[in-house]
C-alpha cells in the first residue's frame, strides 16, 4: 500500500487522538453499515400506497416538466409512442433498450416506426427504455445499467421515453435501493432521473436540454387503473 495512504490514515488517527480502532469496535461499525438503518423518510410519500402513490409520482414528475401518458396495457404503447413523436414533430425512429421487458410490446402494430435495439450513438434522436423503479416522493425514475439497459440511452438522445409499470412505483429512494439489493450484484451505474436535463447557468433562467434529453416522456402502464380507451390524458 502507498506511503500517502498510510500517512493520511495515520494523520486521521492522530487528529482523532486515538490509534486504529480495535477489532470489537470495527465489528460494531461493520454491523452498523450492514443494518442499513433508514433515516427519517418524508411522510408525504411513505404513507401512500397503490393509486395514491402512483398519483403522487405522476404529479411530481409533471411538476419538473416530464410528460406522462397512462395506458392500461403494453399493447397500447406503440400507438402512444407514434402519436407522441408526431405531436412533437420528431422522426418515427427510435433506439430501444435490448431488454426482454420490452418484448411484450407489439411494435408490429405500428410498422412505420423504425426501431433499432442497442446502445445509443451520436445522432440518435429518440430512445425508449424500461426503468428499474419509479419513486413517488419526487417523481424520480430509477434506471440501472446492464447488458440490456445501456446508460447512453438515458443521456445521448434529445428525447427519452421511459416505460414504467404501475407495480414499479415505490414511495422513496430507499425503497428503490432495497429492490436493487434483491438483485445480483451492483450495476456500474444507477441513474436517478427527475425531469429532463436543465441548466440555470445563464442569468439563473432555467433552460431545458442542457446536455441530456430536452424531453422526458413517461408511459405509465398500469392495468389496475381503469383508463378508458387506453389513455386518460
Amino acid at each position: 500500500m502507498s506511503e500517502a495512504r498510510e500517512e493520511i490514515l495515520a494523520g486521521v488517527r492522530r487528529s482523532l487522538k486515538r490509534g486504529k480502532l480495535d477489532a470489537a469496535r470495527e465489528t460494531e461499525l461493520r454491523e452498523h453499515v450492514a443494518a442499513r438503518r433508514r433515516n427519517l423518510v418524508p411522510a408525504r410519500a411513505a404513507a401512500l400506497t397503490g393509486p395514491g402513490r402512483v398519483a403522487l409520482f405522476v404529479a411530481m414528475a409533471e411538476e419538473v416538466q416530464a410528460t406522462v401518458t397512462r395506458v392500461n396495457s403494453p399493447a397500447a404503447v406503440p400507438e402512444v409512442v407514434a402519436r407522441y413523436l408526431a405531436a412533437e414533430n420528431l422522426p418515427a425512429e427510435l433506439v430501444l433498450a435490448p431488454d426482454p421487458s420490452l418484448d411484450d410490446i407489439p411494435w408490429d402494430a405500428r410498422p412505420l416506426l423504425r426501431i433499432r435495439r442497442g446502445r445509443a450513438e451520436m445522432g440518435d434522436a429518440v430512445s425508449l427504455t424500461p426503468c428499474f423503479a419509479a419513486i413517488a416522493e419526487t417523481g424520480t425514475l430509477m434506471l440501472v445499467s446492464g447488458p440490456a439497459t445501456p446508460t447512453t440511452l438515458n443521456f445521448l438522445p434529445d428525447t427519452h421515453i421511459v416505460v414504467v409499470n404501475g407495480n414499479q412505483v415505490v414511495a422513496t429512494y430507499e425503497d428503490g435501493w432495497d429492490r436493487l439489493r434483491t438483485t445480483d450484484g451492483m450495476p456500474r451505474t444507477v441513474n436517478f432521473i427527475t425531469g429532463p436535463s436543465r441548466t440555470g447557468d445563464i442569468e439563473q433562467r432555467i433552460e431545458l436540454g442542457a446536455h441530456g434529453p430536452r424531453r422526458l416522456h413517461i408511459i405509465l402502464v398500469d392495468g389496475s387503473q381503469k383508463a378508458g380507451d387506453g389513455e386518460d390524458e
Binding site: 502507498s2 500517502a4 495512504r5 500517512e7 493520511i8 490514515l9 494523520g11 488517527r13 487528529s15 482523532l16 487522538k17 480502532l21 470495527e26 461499525l29 461493520r30 452498523h32 453499515v33 442499513r36 433515516n39 427519517l40 418524508p42 411530481m60 411538476e63 419538473v64 446502445r119 451520436m122 417523481g139 424520480t140 445499467s145 446492464g146 447488458p147 445501456p150 446508460t151 447512453t152 443521456f155 422513496t172 429512494y173 430507499e174 450484484g185 451492483m186 450495476p187 456500474r188 451505474t189 444507477v190 441513474n191 436517478f192 432521473i193 427527475t194 429532463p196 436535463s197 436543465r198 441548466t199 447557468d201 445563464i202 442569468e203 439563473q204 433552460e207 442542457a210 446536455h211 441530456g212
Partner: protein, 476 residues
C-alpha cells in the same frame, strides 16, 4: 490554484465597482433564497433532517479511518482503484499518470471543486493534454480563463451579453451573423460545440458529492447531464474527491440528498443523481473500462478533532453564500481562491493558511443567516470568530488594528470608564449631528464615512435604555 485572498480588500472594491457583477448579484439575491424557502416549506421534515444530516456526518468523521478503509475495500472489490493524495500536487500527478497510461490526448470534465484546488486544467494542459469543461458555467469561465465565483453556479458573475461575446470570440468557425441574444441560443450553441468532445474524449473526470463506504460508490448530482456523458462515454472515468465526502450507507446518502438540492437550488431533487460503482460489467454495451478514485487530503485530516472539524460536514450546497450579505455585495471572485462566501471564509484559511486568507473571516457582518440555512448546521460565525482570534494570537493583523483592539479591550474591562466614555461620545456626537442626523465625515472614522454616512446617536446609549426599562418594569 493560485490564491489572491491576500488582496481581498482591493478585490472587493473592484467587485463593488463592476456593473455587470452587481446586476448578476441582484438576480441571485432575488432567486436562490426564495426558491430555497419554498422548497423547505414543502417538506415538514426538513428541520429534523438537518439534525440527522449533521449526525451522519459527525459519526462518519469520528470514524473516518474506518470508513476510508471500507470504501477502498469496496472500490477494489468492484474492480476500481483508489489513489491517495496528501497534497494537490500528488492528486494532479495521480490524474496525469492515469491519463498517460491510456495515452490520453483529450479529457472532458464535469464540475469538480477538488480539480479547482489542484489547478488540474492548467497542469494537464502543461503536460500536453487538452481538457474541456462540460458544465455550462464551467465551460464559459474556462473560455474566459476565470476561476469559478460560486460553488454551484460558477459563472453567476456574468450576464448573458458577456457570455454571448465570449462565444462569438471563441467559436470562430460558426456564422458571425448568428443571434445569441437569448439564453436558449447560448445553451444550444454550447450543447452543439461540446457534443463531439464528449464522444472524442479518452478520459472523463468528475467530482463526487458523496462517497458511499458500503458499496465503494461515488455519487454525482447534476442538472445538465454533462457529468453523466463525461463519465459514460470515455474509456476511463476518474473521480476527483476528498476525504470528507464519505458516508456509511446509501440510506445516509439519501438523507443528505434530500437536504442538498433543496438547500442549493430549491429543487425537490436535482435532475440527475448518479451512483457509480467500478468499471463497466461484462456484457455492458457502454460505460468506462476503468474507474479510478483520487482521494485528496490537503489538510483535511488535520482539521479532525479540533475546533474546525465541523467544517468537514459541508456538503457544498452554497446556501450560505446565497444568503450572505457580504457575498451578495462583492461576489465570489473577491475571496480570491476556490471557495467563497461564509464556507470559503472558514475553509480557505484551513487549506491555504490564515496568513494568506486572514481577510476572509473578517469579511462578515455576523448576521448569522449562513448558520441558520446550513443543511448540516455548521456554526460558521463561531468558526469565523475562531479564525479572527487565531489571526490576533499569531500577530497577523496590522499594528494599528492591534493597538486599537488592545485599547478597546483595556477600556471595556473598566465598565465605569466605558460607560462614561460612551455617554460622553454619544452626547457630543448627538449634539454635533443634531441638524442633519448623520455625518458625512468624522475624525478617525473615514473608513466608514468614505462609502456611507454615519448616523448620529439620538441621546441615550443601549445600556442606559436597558437599565431604564428594567427599572420601569420592576416598578410595575
Amino acid at each position: 490554484m493560485l490564491a489572491t485572498s491576500g488582496t481581498f480588500e482591493a478585490n472587493a472594491r473592484a467587485g463593488l465597482a463592476n456593473d455587470n457583477l452587481q446586476r448578476a448579484l441582484a438576480l441571485m439575491r432575488s432567486g436562490f433564497p426564495q426558491r430555497r424557502r419554498s422548497a423547505v416549506e414543502r417538506l415538514p421534515e426538513f428541520e429534523a433532517l438537518r439534525e440527522i444530516g449533521k449526525s451522519i456526518k459527525d459519526h462518519t468523521l469520528e470514524h473516518l479511518d474506518f470508513y476510508l478503509e471500507l470504501f477502498e475495500e469496496n472500490v477494489l472489490a468492484s474492480g476500481g482503484q483508489v489513489h491517495w493524495a496528501r497534497t494537490p500536487d500528488e492528486a494532479g500527478a495521480a490524474v496525469l499518470a492515469i491519463c498517460r497510461s491510456v495515452d490520453a490526448k483529450l479529457v472532458t470534465k464535469g464540475k469538480s471543486m477538488i480539480a479547482e484546488e489542484v489547478g488540474l486544467n492548467e497542469y494537464l494542459e502543461k503536460n500536453g493534454i487538452t481538457t474541456v469543461e462540460t458544465d455550462l458555467g464551467e465551460y464559459i469561465i474556462q473560455l474566459r480563463h476565470e476561476p469559478p465565483s460560486h460553488l454551484i453556479a460558477p459563472a453567476i458573475h456574468l450576464m448573458k451579453k458577456q457570455v454571448a461575446d465570449t462565444f462569438r470570440a471563441e467559436h470562430r468557425s460558426l456564422d458571425p451573423g448568428r443571434s445569441l441574444a437569448e439564453a436558449r441560443q447560448l445553451c444550444d450553441e454550447a450543447r452543439a460545440v461540446l457534443r463531439p468532445q464528449f464522444l472524442a474524449a479518452d478520459v472523463g473526470i468528475t467530482g463526487a458529492n458523496f462517497l458511499v463506504a458500503e458499496t465503494g460508490s461515488s455519487i454525482i448530482v447534476t442538472n445538465e447531464g454533462n457529468g453523466d456523458l463525461t463519465q459514460t462515454l470515455p474509456r476511463v472515468h476518474v473521480v476527483m474527491t476528498s476525504l470528507e465526502k464519505l458516508v456509511p450507507t446509501f440510506e445516509d446518502a439519501a438523507a443528505l440528498l434530500r437536504l442538498l438540492a433543496r438547500s442549493a437550488t430549491g429543487q425537490e431533487f436535482s435532475a440527475y443523481t448518479t451512483v457509480s460503482t467500478g468499471p463497466r460489467r461484462p456484457g455492458d454495451l457502454d460505460g468506462p473500462e476503468e474507474y479510478h478514485v483520487v482521494l485528496l487530503d490537503s489538510g483535511r485530516s488535520a482539521l479532525l478533532g479540533g475546533e474546525l472539524q465541523d467544517m468537514l460536514r459541508c456538503i457544498r450546497c452554497s446556501a450560505c453564500m446565497n444568503h450572505c450579505p457580504v457575498y451578495a455585495a462583492v461576489g465570489g471572485h473577491a475571496y480570491g481562491w476556490v471557495y467563497s462566501g461564509p464556507m470559503g471564509a472558514v475553509l480557505t484559511p484551513s487549506l491555504i493558511g490564515i496568513a494568506e486568507a486572514g481577510h476572509l473571516p473578517n469579511a462578515s457582518t455576523f448576521c448569522g443567516q449562513c448558520e441558520s440555512v446550513c443543511p448540516v448546521k455548521i456554526p460558521l460565525p463561531k468558526m469565523m470568530r475562531h479564525w479572527r482570534e487565531r489571526e490576533f494570537v499569531e500577530r497577523l493583523n496590522p499594528p494599528v488594528y492591534r493597538a486599537g483592539l488592545s485599547l478597546w479591550a483595556w477600556v471595556a474591562r473598566r465598565p465605569a470608564l466605558y460607560h462614561a466614555l460612551v455617554e460622553l461620545a454619544s452626547r457630543a456626537l448627538g449634539w454635533f449631528g443634531r441638524g442633519r442626523g448623520r455625518f458625512r465625515t468624522l475624525p478617525l472614522a473615514n473608513g466608514w464615512t468614505a462609502v456611507r454616512d454615519m448616523p448620529a446617536p439620538e441621546g441615550r446609549s443601549f445600556h442606559r435604555l436597558w437599565a431604564e426599562r428594567r427599572k420601569s418594569s420592576a416598578g410595575k
